[in-house]
């Protein structure tokens, strides 16, 4: 922009600019009220002692004390580790499954709506419901998972009460729930690829697999990045499904960062410490998102 010539605004341009600001003002004020103000309040809280169960202590400024406490808090470390594991498993999982679903839904079915509906339903379902449904699936006595094991002549498993299995079951539920969103994003991407690309490849002798590798995947890259960003941000905030399925148990073995923040503030009433944890989570989210965004901006495949 530096090489554009700066010129005085004409009266007409000035009045247009004023009108523009006036039109933007309501939206800006609304966002300020529901986003900006809470974030500022959160950051302010994180530097104060604020425990609702100890009202006699007041809310003194404590500097970085809450943050220092987090560094030495084993339960916080575990929650971070679990969250990272959920991200590492469910983000690629949902993208791979979602890609498969999108490719399936992009086939020339004569009747399209049942496929689209099947794709949309898991997405439209509230997260807690999805958690409850999978909790029933993995319930010890009557769940479908153990029923299948018994049907195969195997011993039923303690799905939700042994740490490794509970983690596995929760990941499965998250992938099921979130892959439909990924599939929708990728399906939109697939539909922007001209049919003639595949026809030209067909005439040129490419097999279906070669067409997928040479056309579909590279052309889908921008959509895959979008899906990855959205999926990663929501995965960092994972809460509802493990909350409904195990409530973080057994022990704290499936507890995520969001759940620990929730427990600290809502159950233990420690607003100051909870705010500090939330700020830390916010920073992690922002850093990961900016890394993705930088990558997409550099991506030479975009045109």
């Amino acid at each position: 922009m530096s090489d554009t010539i700066r010129h005085r605004l004409t009266p007409l341009e000035k009045s247009e600019r004023r009108l523009g600001f006036a039109m933007l003002a309501p939206a800006f004020l609304l966002l300020a009220a529901v986003v900006l103000y809470p974030i500022v309040e959160l950051i302010r809280n994180s530097f104060h002692f604020n425990h609702l169960a100890q009202p006699w202590m007041g809310t003194p400024f404590v500097g970085f004390e809450n943050y220092v406490k987090a560094l030495g808090d084993d339960r916080f470390h575990e929650a971070v580790l679990h969250t990272v594991l959920y991200v590492l498993v469910t983000v690629p999982g949902a993208v791979v499954i979602g890609l498969g679903l999108a490719l399936l839904a992009n086939q020339p079915f004569s009747v399209k709506w049942p496929v689209r509906l099947g794709l949309l339903l898991p997405w439209a379902l509230p997260l807690v419901f999805a958690g409850l449904i999978f909790r029933w699936f993995f319930e010890y006595n009557q769940g479908i998972a153990n029923a299948m094991l018994r049907g195969l002549g195997l011993e039923p498993l303690n799905w939700l009460t042994s740490p490794g299995l509970a983690f596995f079951a929760i990941c499965l539920a998250i992938i099921w729930k979130s892959s439909s969103f990924v599939a929708l994003v990728l399906l939109a991407g697939l539909q922007t690829i001209p049919k003639s690309f595949y026809e030209a490849a067909e005439v040129d002798g490419a097999t279906k697999w070669q067409q997928f590798r040479e056309i579909t995947l590279p052309m889908l890259r921008p959509a895959i990045f979008v899906a990855l960003i959205f999926r990663t941000i929501t995965a960092i905030q994972t809460f509802d499904i493990p909350y409904a399925m195990t409530n973080g148990g057994p022990g704290n073995s499936t507890e995520t960062l969001a759940m620990y923040i929730h427990k600290t503030t809502v159950d233990f009433l420690d607003l100051g410490y909870g705010s500090a944890l939330a700020v830390l989570m916010f920073i992690v989210s922002a850093v990961i998102t900016s890394v993705y965004l930088r990558h997409t901006r550099r991506d030479p495949g975009r045109h």
């Binding site: 001209p194 003639s196 690309f197 026809e199 030209a200 490849a201 067909e202 005439v203 040129d204 002798g205 490419a206 097999t207 070669q210 040479e214 056309i215 590279p218 052309m219 890259r221 495949g301 045109h303």
Partner: protein, 354 residues
């Protein structure tokens, strides 16, 4: 190299037939243009030859093989698409070499063939660019490059020039004709533009509503159109086709609106009949007093010659006149009609009376 035999080919989508038993015999090395208005089935027929559409009935033969059930990659054809179908994430060189790489040709051979093709098409300096950085005409060349590196038995072109402006279209037309002269490969070329058809084709197949109206050389479809459809479709401006009646002794022909003109001896073939008289613009001229009275409606000077729309009795006819002709809108003239060059069509069937 191979000829193509299309025998009784039918295409239907569900119960809707779009191609009704087409027969077409393309000789080895021939340049055949399929032309017709949109919806006539020309692109569908081309896509059936390519294998991108299934064949409902009849047989398609490339060389001596029936290809009805062969997938496109086994037909040894190359196709240039209307939108060029260039992959935006690949360089020009990679696009041109795509087909060879898919078939497992080694990298050195691909590089050599790509360079050869690039030289022929004068795109060597573009090989490292992406299609997004090219102009329409350059993309068109790249698309042709991708076809010629494959060295196929048959080239198929699906309206390849329709996305270009008029000047580039004329340029690329010459380029395509040169390529055909150089390689001598059989070409089937689809267009809705009769100028492309006339200038490129060895033979033109004019399609109408799923059947072939006429299949002949450009000269023949111009001089001996089989029907009013062909007569109107080929040639610019379109042939004048006006209702007329030939008297029983075939000495004169009466145009709608009453003007009577002496008929040439050949009109005896339609004595006493109502006909459609077909006369090309170049067969109208300004005559002396013996001409048919007419009024000039619109004058369109083209530089090399001048077109004028004339009101002759109850009908309008377009004539092509020398630029020096004294024409002005609203002026009265006497027209000479070269009726020995005229065509007679049956008003019921639209077919030529011969």
């Amino acid at each position: 190299m191979a000829g193509i035999e299309i025998a009784q080919v039918v295409k239907a989508y569900g119960s809707v037939p779009v191609i009704h038993g087409i027969d077409l015999s393309v000789r080895d090395g021939e340049f055949v243009v399929l032309v017709g208005p949109s919806g006539c089935g020309k692109s569908t027929l081309l896509r059936m030859i390519a294998g991108l559409e299934s064949v409902t009935g009849g047989t398609i033969r490339i060389g001596d093989r029936v290809v009805n059930d062969l997938p496109p990659r086994d037909r040894d054809i190359a196709m240039v698409f209307q939108d060029y179908a260039l992959y935006p994430h690949r360089t020009v060189a990679e696009n041109v070499g795509f087909g060879l790489r898919m078939r497992g040709v080694d990298a050195a051979t691909i590089a050599r063939k790509v360079n050869e093709a690039a030289e022929i098409l004068q795109i060597t300096h573009l090989l490292d660019r992406k299609p997004g950085q090219l102009s329409g005409g350059q993309r068109q060349r790249v698309a042709m490059g991708r076809a010629i590196v494959r060295d196929p038995k048959v080239f198929l072109f699906d309206e390849p020039l329709s996305n270009l402006d008029a000047q580039l279209r004329a340029e690329m037309r010459v380029e395509i004709k040169k390529l055909h002269q150089r390689f001598g490969t059989t070409i089937i070329y689809v267009t809705h533009d009769q100028v492309e058809a006339m200038t490129l084709a060895d033979r033109i197949a004019i399609l109408k509503a799923g059947h072939v109206e006429q299949f002949a050389t450009p000269d023949e479809v111009y001089r001996q159109p089989r029907s009013t459809f062909v007569a109107r479709f080929i040639g610019s401006p379109a042939m004048n086709i006006v209702p007329a009646k030939i008297v029983p002794d075939a000495t004169t022909i009466t145009l709608a609106g009453g003007a009577s003109v002496a008929a040439p001896a050949s009109f005896a073939r339609a004595r006493g009949r109502d006909v459609l008289l077909g006369l090309r613009a170049e067969h109208l001229r300004l005559a002396g007093a013996e001409g048919v009275p007419a009024r000039t409606v619109i004058v369109e000077p083209l530089g090399s010659d001048t077109l004028a729309l004339m009101q002759v009795g109850a009908v309008e006819m377009t004539g092509r006149f020398p630029p020096s002709a004294p024409l002005r809108a609203g002026g009265e003239v006497a027209l000479g009609l070269d009726l020995d060059q005229a065509h007679l069509f049956d008003p019921e069937t639209g077919l030529a009376i011969v």
